[in-house]
Amino acid sequence: MANIKELSQIPERLTGGHRLCGGCGATIAVRQILMGTKSPVVVGSATGCLEVSTTIYPYTAWKVPFMHNAFENSASNMSGVETAYKALKKKGKIKDDIKFLAFGGDGGTYDIGLQALSGMLERGHNILYVCYNNEAYMNTSVQRSGATPFGADTTTSPAGKVKDGKDRIRKDLTSIVAAHHVPYAAQATISNWKDLVTKAEKAFATEGPTFINVLAPCFRGWRYPAEKTVEMAKLAVDTGYWPLIEVENGVWKFTSKPSTRKPIIEFLKPQKRFAHLFQDKNKHLLEKIQQQVDEHWAYLERLTSVTCEGEKPSAPKSAPNTAS
């Protein structure tokens, strides 16, 4: 992978001047993903912040072909684009090698677009699907989604006199995607840029459907100061709230792991969406969240400790099995 100086010299494909917020995590995620390929790329997006803020007619912030169709169909729309490419290339009408990239927020991916994503993965389109995950419907004022974590106060899972925010845990979308047995699926976030760009490079270079779930903090919805976006992402990694993993040809792997996981309250505390959990009466909920994080971590430890042959995936590839 290129170093940071080289990455900084890659021409921007999403230019400045768009209307996304200063401090928006999604913008950083998109720019880092686009650093993952030097090939021509065609970008699609679901309805959401990214799409409405970068394309207000007659302007566009995209220097590459960009298409928006609707909310739930980023994956099926790009399935059409990619198949058209295949058809036209076969007929010699297109010569270039083009990469296809579909974006969706967590609402457009975990919830309303899950079926379209599943179809895209199962049919085997040569598309990288990236979920820029800010854990709620931020474009329409912070409604809960299937990606919203337990306890979060959103406008449709509000904390009130008798309720304490969302009462369900978030979906494990990365596992759902991995269950399609696609060649590459990963989780990443913007604070660990080297990890994210490497994953994007891998995904772009892989033949077949690939997926990256990028945690992209949103200061409006999470309610922390706008300048702390990257810090929030880092806390998500350091507390084990957002494990950096990849699943390559069925093999689960931590790509980076904190030496010791910080307590989850360090991630929760700076965010006003969790403020109600810090009342004395809700101490048990904080404990419950720590337990959820621990359990998920243990689940990933189990998955990463074996391959299908029962081998340690971390064993060096060059070491042949000579035991006998």
């Binding site: 099926s76 058209a84 007929k91």
Partner: protein, 393 residues
């Protein structure tokens, strides 16, 4: 030219084989299923080099069609009923983005109650979506309109998606002799698809599907409506060229014994075949009866309908769909609006809702409708404006 024994579904598939589109994205649903099955087999046998997208829903079918056509590929699909309903959102997007997708719609009733048979409830609900709609009487028309639709949709002054409709089961599953044009002639007639600004033109990147607010949205919707009006202006020439090519005599509407008709039925699709027979029967009795078949329903052929009906003493408009809350079915309100705003002379026009859920429209019902229309002609008044034919009330 050869003649094949084909159902309506297989007539549609045969036209698709000859068109050989770049991409087909479709999801199976009764009674359209045969189209998807037969076309998949053609692809499996190498009779077409189309790339298939076997999507997981109709919503994704239309979404993939939009992506594919926007990318620069000639794209087709087919659906029915609930499938069209599930596509609804994306139908409007296909039209709004001005993508000339061609779709076979095998008309079927909408749930509930669930029913798999033919009526026009599905197609009628999509009449304001910006799609051109052609309603076919039989398998022969399905085949020919299926070919012509490519030229309609892709016409540089139109660029609107086009739906070729046929009656579920009545047409889709009945075998008829269908005259088939030569492969090479069809290939030449449809030509190459040459989009002006395909998404895959990476040297000239474009943004498609942008958000437009109060300052631009209205203009783009106006342009789409204007394209539909332009389609109305261009269609006669497209039909004329197709007729020259195929040796047929298609037009936006088909008039049967209308020159001196005093009473007439106006209808769409397969019912017109039976209605023509009743017209002959009445003519034998010295009654000046006629039939107007509306082939192109969107854009609505206002001038043609008015010209065909202007000397009538009474007219009955048949709707194989109910709009429940309006004064009569969708075709009726269109016809009334055309006639009453373009003719000084008023004559009685009545509406008959019929055949919902595939109930037969038989000869007795059509005779009865003509009889009641004759009474309206005599009295100069509409006895009953909105009627239901063939239902137990």
């Amino acid at each position: 030219m050869k003649t094949l024994a084909l159902t309506g579904d297989h007539a549609a598939t045969e036209s698709m084989r000859q068109i050989n589109p770049d991409v087909v994205a479709a999801y199976p649903i009764t009674p359209q299923t045969e189209i998807v099955m037969a076309f998949s087999q053609m692809a499996a046998n190498g009779l077409v080099d189309t790339e298939l997208i076997p999507v997981e829903s109709e919503h994704s079918a239309m979404s993939a069609c939009v992506g594919s056509q926007a990318a620069g590929a000639r794209t087709m699909t087919a659906t029915s009923s609930q499938g069209l309903a599930l596509m609804w959102e994306v139908l409007y997007i296909a039209a709004g983005l001005r993508l000339p997708i061609v779709m076979h719609c095998v008309n079927r009733a909408l749930s509930a109650p669930i029913n798999i048979h033919g009526d026009h409830s599905d197609g009628m609900g999509a009449r304001d979506s910006g799609w051109i709609q052609i309603y076919c009487e039989n398998a022969q028309e399905v085949y020919e309109m299926g070919i012509m639709a490519i030229r309609v949709a892709e016409h540089s002054k139109i660029l609107l998606p086009t739906m070729v409709c046929q009656d579920g089961f009545i047409t889709s599953h009945a075998i008829e002799g269908v005259n088939i044009l030569d492969d090479a002639d069809v290939k030449k007639y449809v030509g190459e698809y040459k989009p002006e600004q395909p998404l895959l033109d990476i040297k000239n990147p474009s943004t498609l599907g942008a958000i437009e607010l109060q300052d631009y949205y209205f203009e783009h919707r106006y342009q789409m409506a204007e394209a539909m009006r332009e389609a109305k202006r261009q269609l006669p020439a497209i039909f004329a060229e197709f007729n020259k090519f195929s040796g047929k005599n298609f037009n936006l509407i088909d008039k049967y014994k209308m020159d001196d008709a005093e009473v007439a039925i106006l209808a769409l699709s397969s019912t017109c075949g039976t209605a023509r027979m009743i017209v002959d029967e009445l003519r034998d009795k010295g009654i000046k009866a006629g039939l107007v078949k509306v082939t192109v329903y969107r854009p609505f052929p206002v001038e043609e309908v008015v010209a065909a009906c202007k000397n009538l003493k009474a007219l009955a408009v048949l709707d194989r769909a109910d709009s429940c809350a309006a004064q009569g079915g969708p075709v009726f309100t269109d016809v009334c609006s055309a006639i009453y705003t373009n003719l000084d002379r008023k004559f009685p026009v009545s509406n008959y809702i019929y055949g919902l859920g595939g109930r037969d429209m038989d000869e007795a019902q059509l005779r009865n409708i003509f009889n009641e229309t004759l009474e309206n002609a005599k009295s100069g008044k509409v006895k009953k404006l909105v009627n239901y034919s063939g239902v137990r009330i």
